[in-house]
Structures are given as C-alpha cells and as structure tokens.
C-alpha cells in the first residue's frame, strides 16, 4: 500500500498538479507518526501508512494557498468535504489521495491492557482483526476490538467518500458504536446535578492549552471567541466555569462539521473525555436533523439550512 501511495504522490509532484503533498511520516518516537508537509520529491519516500496515523491532516488545508495533495483517511476526507461546504477550501485546490483505514491503535488502551508504558513495548503490528504486541521478547495477540480507538470502532465510513485516487481496496466498516454510546449512556443516566458536577470536576483540570481547538479541522475561525476581549466572553484564566463555556460553545460551533476523528480527546494532556461532548453532538444532529457531516460537498452546512417543519414541541 505504501509503495502505491508514494508512486501516486511522486506522479502528482512530477506532473506539477500539486505544489506540495501533505501525508504521514514515521514519528520520532515509537508508535507515533508525524505530519509530513513537503514539496520536494526526495522526502516523498518518507510517506507511510500505519495504524498510528492519528492526525487529521485536513487541519493543514485551512488558509493554505496553492494546490495541495493530501493523504486522507475516512474521517479526514469528511473533514475536507465539510471545509469545502464551508467554502474554506475549494475542491479543485485539493487532490485527495484516499487511504482506506482499518482503524487506529489506541496506545492508552494498549498500555492499560499490557500494564506497560508505550516506550517499554517493542513492537505492535496489526494483521486483519488481530493486533500482535511484542513485549520483552514474548509475542501476545489481542483482538482488534480491545485495542482500536472507540471512534475507529464506531466509524461508519472508513473508506473516504470523496477522493481523486484510492490506495488499495475499500475496507468494510466495523460500525460498532457500542463502546462510545455506553460511555454516553452512563453520563445520561446520572441526574442533572451529578452530570454538572462531573463536568465541573473534569473542566477544573483543563489548563487551556487549546490543543483541542488547534488540532480540529472544523475549528477554522481566524480569531476565536475565546480570545475576544471586547466583549469579554470568557476569561483567559482556566477557571472551570470558563473552560466549560469554552468547550460547550466550541462543540456547538463544530456541530455539523465534526467527523468524530477523536483527535480532541487523544491530544488532551489532561485526558478530559472530550468525545463525550463531540460524539453526543454527532449523534444529536443525526437524530434531530438526519445530518452526517462531510458527506456531500454541495450540501449547505447544517446550521445554515432548515426544514419547513422540524424540532417540534421545543418552542412555545
């Protein structure tokens, strides 16, 4: 698969159809990948396809000039399409190299399973729906279901919907949202005060590093409401009240744009369960407006469209 990807990337660069290629390269630490943004052909050989290509590369298309070739998994391609819907990216400025994704390995889950920290594990390879882990010489097998990210298990479109060329064969979706919906169901079971207390405790740990906002391709504002001082919507000091208002409003702002790529939860240094917010919003807009983000590049964005009759009974 990688050879095919590099061949395509080389072809695009040689033909001059794109100025630069955005893809994944081997990271400097074990089990990590790092985005590769390059225009010269010598670095194209670093492009890889691995079960650790977590980053949603659509994030780099925001306010980018010139023609770009971009490697896109299922969720990435949906983010690109939602950026196109929002007129942030024009379709002909982007050449999408679709990569069917069979799910990414969640190292946090692997660490709790093996009891070892990621740099003590020698190797992790994914074969079919088995993940084999090499640990001080011994090999151990785990079913993929226990090790993949929740959002990868619940992913409905692992094969990109919108692409110019596809690398390898389309992959069937696992589509098992049982894990994500169980966590959300636990939250919904709690009484409103307990839910509020739960969020109060979580957001008192947030240090406002804004990694969740900077890593998200759906967050493309030039200047975020969180940095406004006139009017002073929220305080830059990380009190839980302002952190909560920031996260709730950010989730509402990305409603209809978020493709549940799970990056916000993965990058949070304090492990705040942000997918409890984004996944719930993802399901909410599906249930209320039958809308899935990033499916059709010509459809108007969710919040600018309307139906003649909808959301009955909520308004007096």
């Amino acid at each position: 698969m990688e050879k095919e990807l590099r061949k395509q990337a080389n072809r695009l660069l040689e033909e001059g159809t794109v100025d630069c290629i955005i893809g994944h390269a081997q990271g400097s630490l074990k089990f990590t990948t790092t985005p590769l943004i390059t225009g010269d052909k010598t670095e194209i050989s670093n492009l890889i396809i691995s079960p650790f290509m977590h980053n949603n590369l659509a994030n780099y298309l925001i306010r980018r000039h010139g023609k770009t070739g971009i490697v896109a998994k299922g969720c990435d391609s949906r983010s690109i399409v939602s950026l196109i819907q929002d007129k942030q990216v024009s379709r002909d400025a982007v050449v999408i190299i679709g990569v069917p994704c069979s799910g990414l390995v969640d190292m946090a889950k692997l660490e709790s399973l093996t009891g070892k920290v990621r740099d003590q594990i020698e190797a992790v390879t994914v074969a079919g729906d088995k993940v084999s882990v090499k640990l001080n010489g011994k090999k151990k097998e785990y079913p993929a279901r226990q090790v993949l990210f929740d959002h990868c298990l619940g992913c409905e479109f692992p094969t990109p919907q919108e692409y110019d060329c596809l690398i390898g064969e389309p992959v069937a979706a696992i589509n098992d949202t049982e894990l994500s919906s169980k966590k959300i169901a636990d939250i919904k079971k709690m009484a409103p005060q307990d839910r509020w207390a739960f969020w109060q405790k979580q957001f008192s740990r947030c240090i406002r590093c804004y990694a969740c906002r900077e890593v998200c391709p759906a967050c493309f504002c030039e200047r975020c409401f969180a940095e406004e001082s006139q009017p002073h919507w929220i305080s830059p000091v990380p009190q839980w009240q302002d952190n909560l208002v920031f996260q709730v409003i950010r989730t509402i702002h990305v409603a209809g744009r978020c493709s549940d790529c799970g990056e916000c939860e993965r990058v949070c240094p304090q492990h705040i369960p942000l997918r409890l917010l984004s996944r719930e919003m993802y399901d909410l807009i599906d249930e209320m407006f039958h809308y899935k983000s990033g499916m059709d590049k010509n459809a108007p964005p969710l919040m600018t469209a309307y139906e003649m009759v909808e959301a009955e009974g909520l308004i007096r």
Partner: protein, 143 residues
C-alpha cells in the same frame, strides 16, 4: 436574605424587534398584567441569538434565558426564525445533556399582534424558572 425559593428569578429575554418586542409593546399598551422579572434585550431577529449569549447569560447569574421571535413564515428576514429554531433546538438539547435544567432556556414565537400571548408566555416562563430555584450552576469554586 429571604428564603431561597422566594427569591425573585431574574430572566433575560432576547425579543425579536419586529414581532415579539412589538407584542410586548401591545401587551403594555393594553394594560396586560405580567411579572416584571424579564430584562428585555431587543435584537433585530431571533436568528441573531448565538448559543454563546445564552450560556454567557446563565454564567453571569441569570436564572433563565428566553428567546422569542416571529412565527415561522412571517419573519421580516424570511429565514431568520427557521435558523433560530434549529439553533435553539440544538442548544436546548445539548445544554440539557450538560446538566443545565431544560426550564432555564426557553424559546417562544410571539407575533406583533399577540399581546396576551406574550403576557402568558412571560407568566409561564417565570413560573417554570421559579419552580426550579435560583441558578447557582456557575458559582461553586472549582479547584
């Protein structure tokens, strides 16, 4: 300090200038009696209301937020209230999921000719908000 529940709830009402605000005027001119807990903010259209205004209102200490606009179909800007409807529905549902009681965020359609409906809506909203007591969601010290 009076007893907790007797404390008069303070509600901010975002009224659309063309319909609800005119409806409020009509209720006033026709001497309708309705509670005075609502601080009115005139906005060009109910579509102007951003979920940030609602959450900011609650975090500043208002006990309830009311957004009122024209009935679907007779919005001065054609589609303002349709968008407001979708946005209000999503915001109410999501804030409920966060743990904010549903009565705190209310929405209503009041046209310019419905003076008594406006008085009725305000009375109902104040009754609902008084039932669930003052809003101390944002008061507790975090760390």
């Amino acid at each position: 300090m009076e007893n907790e529940t007797e404390k008069e709830p303070r509600i901010v009402g975002f009224l659309c200038k063309w319909c609800s605000y005119a409806g409020a005027d009509l209720a006033g001119t026709s001497r309708k009696k309705y509670p005075a807990n609502v601080t009115v903010v005139k906005v060009p259209c109910s579509g102007r209301i951003d979920p940030l205004f609602i959450l900011k209102g609650l975090s500043l200490g208002f006990d309830g937020v009311l957004v009122s606009g024209c009935h679907p179909g007779d919005c001065h800007y054609q589609t303002g209230n349709y968008r407001a409807r979708r946005r209000m529905a999503l915001t109410k549902k999501f804030l409920e999921y966060m743990g904010i009681p549903a009565e705190r965020v209310q929405a209503s359609w009041v046209s310019a000719s419905e003076g008594n409906k406006f008085a009725q809506v305000i009375a109902d909203v104040v009754k609902d908000v008084k039932a669930i007591g003052p809003n101390n969601l944002f008061c507790a010290e975090g760390r």
